[in-house]
């Protein structure tokens, strides 16, 4: 059974190799090859899942040693995998949602002549992401981490003929480098601290505690903060959040799979996986919760002001991942709920993006919601599935988001003390804003009057329902959006499933669960009500009004790019210029000065070589005298 783990990764990797090296001959069937191999991965995941369910909860971890990757004295890196309940959850999410989105892309990318390459990249992404969650050490995880970064870069910039897409890809890549540096530093710190970076020895197992037990808190805090930096980059958390909005330049299936359901949650995986390190570094945990809380509000506020449907959803993604990071920062109180929200979010956010893609598909790739309106009649399936996703994300009772988000808000309060109140309050406020911006998206897209306009070529859009290859994945995901939360929560199934890996504690909440739920409901209604008052009762202007100061700030992503430009870009340029100045004057000066003085010395010594045998003989005589004197002197001293 263990041998399946490598095959799980190998299948999409093979797909990527075949599709990217296969050439034009595969143009006709490439997309089906990619979809088949992604599905094969999913099937293997299901088989492994069934096998795992047959074992006792404490004995479910299996591992596979593939080969010794870097066997050097004092440094051992293995290509080996570890499959436990946490990885299993991710495997099913990645390969399941991944397969659905492959299927969806068959229709969505139908008219793109580089469709084969697109599927090759998607397969590459799946392989890298599976490697990331299946690796049994941080170094191999890093390989997957960089692999998904590469796939993300390639897919954001897939339509590289658009300068905006090329720029967005580069931006995502650069911002992610910052996070990746964090991960590599964390791995190096681990090696110097523990002498290894394998999960087992570092993090410990059921039987024995890991090396984190013996390490100093300072070092653990440093490692944890570096891991957090990595997570911030990959999961678009403040302050490394700026790339996600632009990443929407990629094809919509990419936004759904990579920039909503899976890759951007890798940071959450990293934090939860490294729970043993974070548990021993409370200061770092506090930073994690702060980052999560700030991001969940930041993303939500940005989402409120965007007229581009995908960017609004991107803000939402940022915000929802903020919830997860917040939960992960709470320690054992929150790990399970972070992952549960991650899974349910994977369903409904992928569904929402696919819905958005379906809308764009029918509207000549228009993304401005001010030019939508009234689409529910034209795209009934999209409307229903999108609507279910909408209800799920705002936390409508009984749907997936209700269960998972509620738990996070409760856990935030359960942190206790002032921190608990602040974090819980932020989470509650976030829930209200979520209801507001999602209702706004829903109303502007599917309700109200038609505000369609001909595109630049004068084509009047003819909205229509998308082909079946696109609607089926949307329907499947809608089922997930509706039922996953209930399935997980009733009888605490998800808790029991994940607890052996992540551990769990209830915490001590100052407010009862019921109170939290009721407060959430009230805020939900308030948020949705305001949105309805603004966008349901009144007609939506086709051209965006100037808006208040807050609106304009949110439209500009709360000036994040301006901040980066002023502080980082300008600062970097100044630093570069001054370094170049130092290099030219000081370093080159020293180097050239040395060279010049050696040259001068050479010229002077050269004059001793005057060609006269007599002076050579004198120098020899002098040399011999010195030699003899020195030898005698050595004895004398």
């Amino acid at each position: 059974m263990e041998n399946l783990i490598a095959l799980l990764i190998a299948a999409p990797l093979l797909g990527a190799a075949v599709l990217l090296c296969g050439g034009r001959r595969l143009d006709a069937v490439g997309h089906w090859i990619g979809t088949a191999l992604a599905s094969a991965s999913f099937v293997m995941g299901v088989v492994l899942f069934a096998d795992m369910l047959g074992k006792s909860p404490d004995d479910r971890t299996i591992s596979q040693h593939l080969f010794s990757w870097i066997p050097v004295a004092g440094f051992q890196a293995d290509a080996s995998f570890q499959l436990d309940q946490l990885s299993m959850t991710f495997v099913l999410l990645i390969s399941g949602v991944g397969s659905l989105i492959h299927l969806y892309s068959v229709g969505y990318m139908e008219h793109d002549e580089r469709r084969r390459r697109f599927f090759g990249y998607l397969n590459l992404f799946l392989a890298a992401m599976l490697l990331l969650v299946l690796a049994d050490n941080y170094l191999l995880l890093y390989v997957g981490w960089e692999g998904v970064g590469l796939a993300s870069y390639l897919l954001i910039g897939f339509w590289q003929h658009k300068p905006s897409a090329a720029t967005a890809a580069k931006k995502a890549f650069l911002v992610n480098r910052v996070g990746d540096m964090g991960l590599s530093i964390a791995i190096m710190l681990m090696f110097t601290t523990f002498g290894t970076f394998a999960f087992g020895p570092v993090l410990g197992t059921h039987e024995e505690a890991g090396l984190t037990q013996g390490a100093s808190e300072g070092k653990l805090t440093a490692i944890a903060l570096m891991l957090l930096l990595a997570a911030c980059g990959k999961s678009a958390q403040v302050p490394l959040q700026s790339w996600l909005g632009d990443a929407m330049e990629g094809p919509t299936p990419v936004s759904a799979l990579i920039h909503a359901a899976t890759m951007v949650t890798a940071g959450v995986y990293l934090i939860v996986r490294s729970g043993a390190i974070f548990n021993a570094a409370p200061d770092a945990q506090l930073v994690v919760t702060v980052v999560g809380a700030v991001t969940l509000l930041f993303g939500a506020i940005v989402g409120c002001a965007k007229d581009d449907i995908k960017k609004a959803l991107a803000g939402s993604t940022m915000s929802q991942i903020g919830y997860m990071v917040l939960a992960a920062g709470l320690g054992p109180i929150g790990y399970v709920w972070a992952i549960m929200h991650l899974v349910t979010h994977g369903f409904f956010k992928a569904g929402l993006f696919l819905g958005a893609g379906s809308v764009m598909h029918g509207m000549n790739d228009e993304v401005d919601m001010r030019k939508f309106g009234g689409l529910r009649k034209y795209m009934p399936i999209t409307f229903v599935t999108f609507g279910l996703g909408y209800l799920a994300i705002i936390g409508f009772p009984g749907l997936s988001g209700f269960f998972s988000k509620d738990k996070i808000i409760e856990a935030a309060f359960a942190k206790g003390g002032t921190e608990g109140w602040i974090l819980g309050g932020a989470a509650l406020l976030g829930a209200a804003i979520t209801a507001y911006y999602m209702t706004r998206v829903m109303l502007m897209t599917f309700f109200g009057e038609k505000r369609w306009q001909p595109d630049a070529d004068g084509h009047e859009p003819h909205p229509h329902e998308s082909p079946r290859s696109m609607t089926i994945p949307m329907i499947v995901l809608a089922f997930g959006s509706v039922f996953a939360g209930g399935l997980f929560s009733i009888g605490d199934r998800f808790l029991h499933w994940l607890e052996p890996v992540t551990g769990h504690s209830e915490g001590d909440s100052p407010v009862s669960a019921l109170t939290v739920t009721l407060a959430t409901m009230v805020l939900l209604v308030v948020g949705a009500g305001i949105a309805y008052a603004q966008y349901g009762r009144r007609p939506v202007p086709v051209v965006a009004p100037r808006g208040s100061l807050a609106t304009r700030a949110a439209r500009r992503d709360l000036y994040q790019d301006d901040f980066n430009h002023v502080v980082l870009v300008r600062g970097g340029e100044h630093l570069t210029r001054s370094l170049v100045y130092v290099d030219h004057t000081l370093v080159d000066g020293v180097v050239n000065g040395t060279a010049a003085s050696v040259g001068g010395l050479s010229g002077r010594l050269r004059r001793l070589q005057n060609g006269y045998a007599r002076s050579y003989a004198v120098s020899m005589f002098g040399g011999a005298a010195v030699l003899i004197a020195a030898t005698l002197l050595m004895r004398a001293v």
Binding site: L601, S602, R606, Q609, T631
Partner: protein, 549 residues
Amino acid sequence: MSAAAVHSLWTTAVDPIDKIGAPKIEYGQLSPTLIVVGAAVIGVLIEAFVPRKSRYYAQVFVAVVALAAAFAAVVALAAGGYGTTKAHIAAMGAIAVDGPALFLQGTILLAGLLGVFTFAERRLDPEAHGNRVDSFAAQAASVPGSDSEKAAVKAGFTTTEVFPLLLFAIAGMLVFPSANDLLTLFVALEVFSLPLYLLCAVARRKRLMSQEAAVKYFLLGAFASAFTLFGIALLYGYAGSVSYATIAQVVDGTVQNVDPALAGTMGNDALLLIGAAMLAMGLLFKVGAVPFHMWTPDVYQGAPTPVTGFMAAATKVAAFGALLRLLYVVLPGLRWDWRPVMWAVAIVTMLGGAIVAITQTDIKRLLAYSSIAHAGFILAGVIATSPDGVSSVLFYLGAYSFVTIGAFAVVTLVRDAGGEATHLSKWAGLGRRSPLVAAVFAVFLLAFAGIPLTSGFAGKFAVFKAAAEGGASALVVVGVISSAIAAFFYIRVIVLMFFSEPRSEGPTVAVPSPLTMTAIGVGVAVTLVLGVAPQYFLDLASQAGVFVR
């Protein structure tokens, strides 16, 4: 250890005269030297009896066969275990047959063989009056520019005496590193020096410069020999013997059977220290260490280039061999006295050679200063006073001699109307005109600079490693700094060859005969093989790294 033989001088002094037997000579073990000396004598006879037209061929044939046979003899001795288990002192205590001796003799013989090839090259210059000419004067005794010189050129004379001279020099060099008493050492020194002085004087082009070089070399060499001889005398006064083993025993204080007649001066440390310093000075002169180096650039520049190549390679091997034996066999008990002095010499040699080379404009002088810097690097290995030190020096010498002969052979190819175009400015753009020759020369320069994948790197690494492990880290630091300085002028030549515009009236590159091509080809091959896969040869050198006492 044949202690009885070592003490021959003692024992003969006290034994009755009628007991003197015939000396016991191990002809088989001395065969490499004997073959070369015999061939040299045959070469002299060829000069006397073979018709002028055939002499060249006869001489080249005899020299090549003799050197090859001598090399085969060295290999046979080494295979017979004379380098390791059967190492001993032959010829009544005069000659050591051991690992270092055989290794160095093999190196010298191979260098000599390549030297013969470059000596025998007759295709580089255009024919004069229908006769092929080599690098040597038509008639060395004729005054430059005189009518007799013109007549000699017209008659197609060639100085084929260079071949027996070369063989005599090689014979002396074979004995020099294996000499086991001071008198043999001195005789060997003169046997190889005198032919070299002569060889330096017989260049065909720029004869005055060549003769000036020879006179300088001779004068300064004689001066240094005087120091050497004086040093030997003082050491004899100190130990009452010229035998290495006895002197070592006296230094260590373990000597027995002291002759009462000599007991008065014996053990006078002033004699020992001054004598050792003077003897060391003579050897440092031969290796070209600062401040005894000043002959090197003038002689290297003036001598016929094939002679320069051979001399730069083989003299250095022989002289370092003798220096190693002196310091490791005769004076190990004195190492706390000589090590600091040698430190200082090594440092000024490395830095001096590298720094002065920077401003050179003549390729032969540049290589001369480079050889001075290399002498400093090798000294760093000598100072290590460990078996690794010995083997690293042996390896370095082997690697260096092939690079040197190859590099000087390339210098003979680049010519203009006045003969070899040795001024650096004429080498500009050579890479465009003759990419192969320039590339080969670049390989040699990179090896000189010690760039990885060339033998120079492996050698330098071994020497510095041994020095560092021997406690001379500071020396290694200076060595690396000197290497960095030296890299500048090596790379500068490469840049000049490949990245400068060729000059319109630049030199031509002569197409050599297979002889020079062989010399250059072997040089490149050894340089690359020792650079890429040095381990076998390092092992060989380390097996050969033990002196017999």
